[in-house]
Symmetry: C2
Subunit: 407 residues, 2 copies
Amino acid sequence: VDRAEVVAMDEADELTQLRQHFSIPEDGPIYLDGNSLGPPPSAVGAAVIHALDEWRLRLVGGWEEWIDLPTKIGDRLGRLLGAAPGQVLVCDSTTINLYKVVAAALETGTDRGEIVADAGDFPTDRYVLQGLSRSTGRRLRLLHDPTSDEVIDALGSDTALVCLSHVDFRTGRRLDGARICQAARDAGTLTIWDLAHSAGAVPLELDDWGADLAVGCTYKYLNAGPGAPGFVYVRRDLQDLLGQPIWGWFGQARQFEMGENYEPAPGITSFLAGTPGLIGLRAVEAALGVTDQVGVGALWAKSVRLTELLLDRVDERLVPLGAKVVTPRQPDQRGSHVSISHPKARPWCRTLIEQRLVVGDFRPPDIFRLGPAPLYTRFVDCFDAVEEMARTLEAGIDETAPSGRVT
Amino acid sequence: VDRAEVVAMDEADELTQLRQHFSIPEDGPIYLDGNSLGPPPSAVGAAVIHALDEWRLRLVGGWEEWIDLPTKIGDRLGRLLGAAPGQVLVCDSTTINLYKVVAAALETGTDRGEIVADAGDFPTDRYVLQGLSRSTGRRLRLLHDPTSDEVIDALGSDTALVCLSHVDFRTGRRLDGARICQAARDAGTLTIWDLAHSAGAVPLELDDWGADLAVGCTYKYLNAGPGAPGFVYVRRDLQDLLGQPIWGWFGQARQFEMGENYEPAPGITSFLAGTPGLIGLRAVEAALGVTDQVGVGALWAKSVRLTELLLDRVDERLVPLGAKVVTPRQPDQRGSHVSISHPKARPWCRTLIEQRLVVGDFRPPDIFRLGPAPLYTRFVDCFDAVEEMARTLEAGIDETAPSGRVT
């Protein structure tokens, strides 16, 4: 393809107009890091400002309505996850939510001895599992970049739970949620999914999979803002069986009776702990409205075209320069980002950012991630980004420059 | 005193002009519930809108700066707590932070068998302690509305920790932090303070007390917004001895190396867990700026005058109508709110809110709280509020109206 054809693809695409809902500076670098932090939709800014008004005008009386937002917005988010109402909360951070569900599973869900996980999973997932495997006396069995089949083969009669990212944060490889959940069910094992790189990007069917537990964030493909609240999914028939360990007043039955003893609220509410933040919740609500305008099915269809274009351009321009594609070629085996490995990935990525050409990101040891997001990334952005990447590499990378702490 | 004298007190008071920094509708009810949720300072609104700009313009690159905000803003908040830098984080909720420090104390700080706490403490404190006393096999010894002497008498050679609210959320009674910390030190016991009703209201000297651990919120007297982030204090020489149980990537040493094994970051940072929210952090930072304009010493001096006026008016107008003052009369034994008990407290409070006269709040079983906040409450507000309360009670309360869930 040449650039004119790519420009024509944007002109012909119905989703191109969605970009106008975002505040993306036209003179800035090409932003391919929405899988780390999505840019602000105008509606989120408006919702945040509206939340300031709610606070000002309603003061403490606002809690009559706000108290239900973690479940109400959770239900709305649940539609993107394939979850019927009453199974999703928007609250706390992904890390805190993962801690709650892993602890609940290990302390009240099973007495089996082994946790199966991915040695290369996102750090917070691995660390939460390390901490809780130690404190609950479980073995942590780490698979190395497993396929779905390798995960399934690892499940046995002593597997307490299997905890995995649906889409790998480095390579973009996607696991087969339905098959793994079926195998886990057959093995009597609980499943925990980290959906950080899936929610808002790829179609999800947690209820249909028979998934048990899941967590994720709202600041990547959902664009709710830096450190916006996370979410947690607990399958309905597990909610009153599993007890999470952080006993707080928002998880208490009849909260404002302030009763003597902790009594978990029925249903998903028992997975709340402390007071949720209004502004963050309103940001998530408005961000969901942006995604709902078109739906995750249409977004995924465009994501496939964007990542296919990226792969085509990488093959043509970057593979001859030493890059290797590490993202699966089959669309149903990947998420919405494309990763390459290259020995100079770290300084290459940094140079492109410093020269304000392309913002992707580096992940150790040698991965350069490119995350197009169909709500605002154009085909021409993918084309131009790879051209800039090629030109920068051809011009020579200064590997001695100090690396930023966050890249 | 008569109303004209009270109006003259406002006119003569230097702090009266601080009210202009808040967006308080002049035609609204008298707001005496800032000890539940403070109103928005204009500076917080501006900071929130600025945070939207930071997000838009810096995108993922903003994390270079944002990543340090929990410690940087924590240091600033620490000045209000009497804490030298490097001992306070702004993050998560009060409940989550309390869970972290109680678990850290019980799992890595001591092997003693008993927790001393207050049977009437705020629900989330009691529930966190119940959960962790159960999971760690400790006895929970609950004192009933203890004095400082009764707390000290309860500390013994098997006391693992004593966890208390510095200012009681119902009665406003304040404990003697310095003496209790000294006695706890003598008994070899760790202290955990909930400062929710103290931070920004009464002068605190955690370092001078020799306090060990503390938590609190920023949405009451600090006015950072509904569900704004909480804070946690860990005394410097305990930070590397105590391990908190939620192992997340923000608590990891050399976070962006994404190393294989969890290794707690040195210092207070190990008490972080997941990704903190930018907007909430900027709100706290701006809210601290409002309090710092005058300092907590001057605020406390005015608070004493406000609560003394309230007590005077309650004695004159409400005690003859059956109200009893439950807040200590000595200023150094109370916080910044005045509570009365009355058999009709619940419907009385609700009626005043529904008629848009006075917003105080009800706490079970029979407590009506009035929380003046010296940043924006005028003397005349205290005078008028008690007059409205008296008139409403004299007119007769409809006790059959349905009670709101949140009062």
